[in-house]
Every structure is written in C-alpha cells, then in structure tokens.
Symmetry: C2
C-alpha cells in the first residue's frame, strides 16, 4: 500500500532511490561552460600568480630600508631600474635600492615590499625619497597567494557560475570537463489539451505544462525533449513513455487530472517499473507520482494543474535532477514579511505564490490569491512560500521563507 | 573635475544618463523565450478558461438541491448524463438533476456547483445520492477566473521565467515579442595578459576578465562579443573601442590596472565621448569608469582585478543593461548571519565574498578571506555582502544582506 508522503519524505525517497548517473564527461570551452556541472574536481596544476606581484603603482624596496622614515626625514633609495608590465623584473635589488613597479608588475628579487607612488618622491637624480615606512610584504601578492599546485579550486558537482569560469580561466582550464546535460522526456497527457498555438474548442484548454516543464528543465540545466500531447489511452501512453525512457535519462508525465488519467499514469509506471510514491501531502500538488524502472531511470507523474506542476517541479524534480548529477541543490530562499494574512486548513503543507518588494522594514512578500491551476496568477511572481501542515494560516506580518524562482 | 562617486551615486548616474534603447522587437517561439525581455505588455485576448470547469471528479448539480442533505438523508438526484474530457458538456441540467463530471471537465449549463465523488453515491438506478450539501460555486472555476480579455498578464520589460512561459502558453501567445539581446563588446587590456589557453611567461598572467565578464553578460541575457586582448597602446585601444561601438550596443573595457592603462582607457573614452564618472568609492572596485558616446552608447571601464571586475559588473553593469532594456533589476539578496567578524577601515564601501550555508539558527554567511584580485578565492562563492563606508567592520553574528550570484 502506497501512502501519501510528506514533502520531506518525498525528498528522502528521491535521494535514497536514485544514485548519480555514471556517464562519461564531455569537454566544453569556457564560453560554453556557464550552467554546466563539473564532472570532476578541478585542482590547480601551477602557481597563481606564478610570480610576486605589486598591488599598487609604486617602488619595490626592502622594507627594512624604510623603517623610521617620515615626510620630514625620507629614506633616500637608489633607483635601480623600472619593472615593465608583462615582462620579468630583469633586475634584483641590493640594500638601499628600489625599483619602479606598476600595479601587477613583478616585485624584483631582493625586494620584500612596495611603497605606493603617492608616498614616494622621485628626486630626479637617480634617487627616490620614501616618505613613509612599510612593513615587509606590504602592497604585494606572493607567488601562489591565489592558488598553489594541488589546491582544489572547484569540486565535482558544482554547477558553474561566472566567478567559477573566471577561476578556470586563471588556472588555464579551457577544456572544461562537464557532465553531459540530462536528457529529460516530457509528455503531456489529457484529452482536453490542445497545443498552445491552437484555439481551444468547447471543453478544451491549451497545454500549459508542456512549455512550463520544458522551460523549468532548461533552467535547471537539463535538455528537455517534448513528446507531445498524448490522449488518455493507456496503451498509447505506455508506448510513448517507453520510447522516452529509451531516449532519455528520465521521463516526466504531466498528467491530466481526471481519475482515468491518474490511474493510467500509475498503471503505466507500474507496468514499466516500480511506483515509489503516489501522492504528496501538499496543496496544490497532491497527485504526484514517482517511479523507477528496473534500469534505475526515474519516471515522474506531475499534477495536471499548472501551478501544482510548477511547485512540484521546483521542489522535487529539481532535487531529482541534482541527485542524478551528484550535486547538492542550493536553497535560494529569502526571508520576507507577509503583507496580508493567508488562511490554510488542509492538514497538508500549503504552497502559495508571492511577489517580493522592498518595504520600509525590509523585504515584503505579497501573497498571490487565486485558485490552484491559475497559472496567469503566477506570471510575474518572484517565488512561493509554504504554510506548514499543522498551521491554520499565517497572519499579516509573519516572517516567511520565500523560495525564489531562479536557476540554482 | 570628476569626483569619485559613492555606489548609490553611480547607480543614479547610470539611470539618469542612459535611456531604454529604441529597437524593433523580435518574435521568438515559447521554447526560446526563457530569459528574454518582453518588448510589450501581454494582454489576454480571450477568456481563460473559456468555460466553467470542475476542480474535482464528481457530480455537477444545483447547489440548492443539496441544502439540508446528509449521510443519513441524502439528496437523491437524477443522473442526466456524463461530461467527457475535452468536449463540451452537451447537456444542461434541470432542477433535481446532476451530471458526472471529471476534474477539468465542463460544468454544464444549469449546474452551479460540483460535489466530489467521495461524497456521492451512485445508486445504479439512474439516480445519485448526495451525502453532503455544497454551496453555489463550490469545486469549480468560472469562465475567466484565470484571465478575462483585456487583463494585463505580463508587463513590458519582464525578463521571462518559466511560470511566465506557462502563462503565455495559456494565452496562446506562441510568437513572443521580445527585445533583441543587447550586444555588448568586451575588450581586455594589459601588456601582461595572455589568453587563458596559453602558459604565462615571466611577468605574465592569464586573462581572467575576458571570460568572466562575457559569462556575466551572458547570464544577464546579453550577447557578449569578445574583441580580444589589446596591449596598453592608446591608438590601438581607441581603434578597437571604435570598432566595438560600431558593432555593439555598449562596450566594456576590462582594464589593466597600471597608471598608464587607466589613463589610456580614460583618454580613449574622453576622445570618443564624455566620461561620466571616474572612480567609485568602493573596495575593491575603485578604478571604474563610465562614459557615454554622443550617440548615447555606454562605455564602461572595469578594474583589472578580477574580483573587483566581478563585483562592479554584478552591481553596476547589470544595472546598466537593465536600464538599456527598460526593466527593473530585481534584488536577489538573502539575510544571513556572519560566522566571523570582518574588519574594514577604508572609508569606502567594502565588498566581501561569502559562502552561504544553513546553520542551526538559519542562514549563515562565511566571509571569504583573501586579497583583492584572487579570483579563485571566489570560485564556489554564493554571493557577496557590503560593509558600509562609515563602518569599522562587522562582528561575528552580525546580520548581512548577501547579494547572490545569479541571473536576475
């Protein structure tokens, strides 16, 4: 007997029933690596920087030569030369000497600090006056300050963001080893559905979940493949799911929501594998199915209501994809204050869309009103929050954690 | 005389000096609309749904016929027929009648409510017992409950997210009117720079800002175009900037940071237009330049230090792109508690990278230590926070607002 699971139980089942897929990595150039998932740890193979660099425009020198100097009594150093950008220092300093060095230029051997230009005076006679003392190591970056060979810079499973691309560039990792994108089949079911480009006839509606789920998958870094709208016939549905399973890493049925359809999705999953749960104690989103084929592929049955499909995909399908890629899903939540009370009395976790705006006392969440299934009510929404199952509602002013609708 | 601006002043200048670009919109299919910016308001042209729908599997009926009924004394109604999914109701109800209706099916004319299957009993003799009364309007969605013709569903300037794509599908807007992507030229300058795929020789480092800035622009929805690494020669830089300005909507110079380079970027901008500010009172990030050509195109000079370039791009270049697209940049900030104190004594707003993690008392921000320019220190970072200019630092446990590194 399959019980309805709580949202936390559903996440636990996703984690325990599926393992990261074992797939050969592929290499992509830096310009195509944004949003991809690292296939292995990236470890530095060289020193960054590979030489000691000045962080200011100034004079490289021996710090000890400046101790005790002042505006009134400058330390007078011999100008031994000038370091040029992009070239080795080409000289080394003796006690009593200094060398002009630009920001980012090499600090010559013999020097152990840099004094900034504004605190020095070039006397024009081959000597420079230092008007303020510096401590050793001041105004410079040491070899390997950024990374040393062997340092792990990025872990396997990281979904790459711009600053990671910058780090890879610094290390010279220009063929980035990433996981292949997950291929996820999407099937819309329901006799009442017509493609969005068609005008619905009597009793018909446009298919919202197909484009919605495909876009959510794309945002999560997967490659969605849409198998079209399948009528409520079990044999036809089974055939389409089988084809999608053969071609994809996971399959998502976006269910119609009539009894017949719900049963059909469940029977198809049972025929092709094992149903792991049938129902999540949440509103909207209850009629959610999770299944697994003997080969370990995931089958998800989403509710037909678009808002329910949106919440369930955001909460559970993304977690499933992260699991299949062996990465942690990062929480993107902000704390905000409810502008109005929201009632709940369902004995299930209730999810509610929200707009976010800056108020006088910080971030505010405006709950979006509307019946389940009204996707346009969520157009423009920033995220959603949860009212716990044992809670009768939340008053205006209550703090809520808003899950924001963004790529993780 | 150009003064150094505070971060807020810099944002004000961006907003006042630039206006949304006037460009003809383009139409893209739903499958290519994620992350694009709506070129005009999207207004519903039809009713969604276009008919009254049941939200449960059950019996459509007249609510008044059920008043006072109970388990013990069911209301007995005549079964007038069955509504099928995807078809019009095909019947209309008289008093004392009911019709079987699936979730999402049409509620027939004459009915004003639906009772769910579980609270009904089919006697098998052409009549159905209703075990609990329902109020008019119960368990159904009315025509236009989602939208009515003329309702504005999405505003011009919205950067489209999955739930918006769902709403567009519901409305049948499958040729989505979006702004062309902003074309932004990126130029790296510095004699010390080699492309990331090359091994640096003495005094050289790899160009980090080129890939970093291009990726940040891509994440912000723009089309970056990289013009390569230009040595510190003003004539050559000017030539490259001119070419980029001719081909792009805006140009970003990612400066080397020696005095000569800084001057060169500033002189090139002055020669090609007006320098709007030279320096932002922030650390890192001070040597930032903003300019405008007579034709109104933006020129940005970023600091050479990658971490500074990252913060400045995230804070100001994204704001500039949003301005050019006529949209509001949404704040993506989370409140977190500092795990360690961070010192500051610079008289400028200080920005510091952070990792986020869940702690026993909520979200925690681990400040990332390291000198400016160490991009690998930010690999894996979740975002950054600001220590205000008049603040000597923040103690462990202080609440900080962390800007998170994500597409807006």
């Amino acid at each position: 007997m399959l019980h309805v699971k709580t949202p936390d139980e559903a996440l636990d089942i996703i984690r325990s029933a599926f393992a990261p897929l074992d797939r050969p990595p592929e290499a992509v150039p830096l310009s195509a690596a944004l949003g991809r998932v690292l296939a292995r740890d990236v470890t530095a193979e060289s020193w960054v920087p590979d030489f000691r660099r000045s962080t200011v425009d100034g004079y490289a020198l021996r710090a000890a030569d400046t101790f005790g100097c002042s505006d009134a009594l400058p330390a007078q150093l011999l100008l031994a030369g000038e370091v040029r950008m992009g070239e080795g220092a080409g000289l080394s300093l003796e006690p009593g000497q200094c060398a002009a060095v630009p920001t980012g230029g090499e600090v010559p051997p013999g020097a152990d600090a840099v004094q900034m230009l504004e605190l020095c005076e070039d006397y024009g006679d081959g000597t420079v006056g230092i008007l303020k003392s510096v401590a050793p190591g001041h105004n410079m970056i040491f070899r390997g300050d950024d990374v040393k060979p062997g340092d792990r810079v990025l872990p396997a499973g990281r979904r790459l963001e711009p600053q990671d691309i910058g780090a890879l560039a610094a290390l010279g990792v220009t063929d980035v080893p990433v996981l292949p994108r997950l291929r996820v089949g999407v099937i819309s079911t329901g006799d009442e559905l017509v493609p969005p480009e068609d005008a619905p006839a009597a009793g018909q509606i446009r298919d919202v979940n197909g484009p919605l789920v495909c876009t959510l998958l794309e945002q999560a870094g997967a490659l969605p493949r849409f198998y079209g709208i399948v009528p409520d016939r079990e044999d036809q549905l089974k055939q389409t799911v089988e084809r999608a399973l053969a071609e994809c890493d996971a399959v998502i049925l976006s269910g119609g929501s009539s009894v017949g359809e719900k049963d059909a999705a469940c029977r198809v999953m049972s025929a092709l594998g094992e149903v792991l749960f049938h129902g999540i104690a949440m509103k909207p989103g209850k009629p959610t199915l999770l299944g697994r084929t003997p080969a370990g592929k995931a089958m998800v049955g989403l509710p037909g209501h678009p808002v329910a499909a949106l919440f369930v995909t955001h909460l559970f399908v993304r977690a499933l994809l992260a699991r299949l890629e062996g990465r942690e899903l990062r929480r993107r939540q902000v704390t905000a204050r409810l502008t109005e009370g929201v009632s709940a009395n369902h004995g299930r976790a209730q999810y509610n869309g929200a707009l976010l705006r800056e108020g006088p006392q910080g971030l505010e969440a405006l709950p979006i009103r509307g019946k389940s299934g009204l996707i346009t009510a969520l157009a423009g929404a920033d995220g959603y929050f949860c009212i716990p199952r044992d809670c009768e509602g939340l008053p205006a002013g209550a703090q809520v954690l808003v899950n924001i609708f963004i790529a993780d």
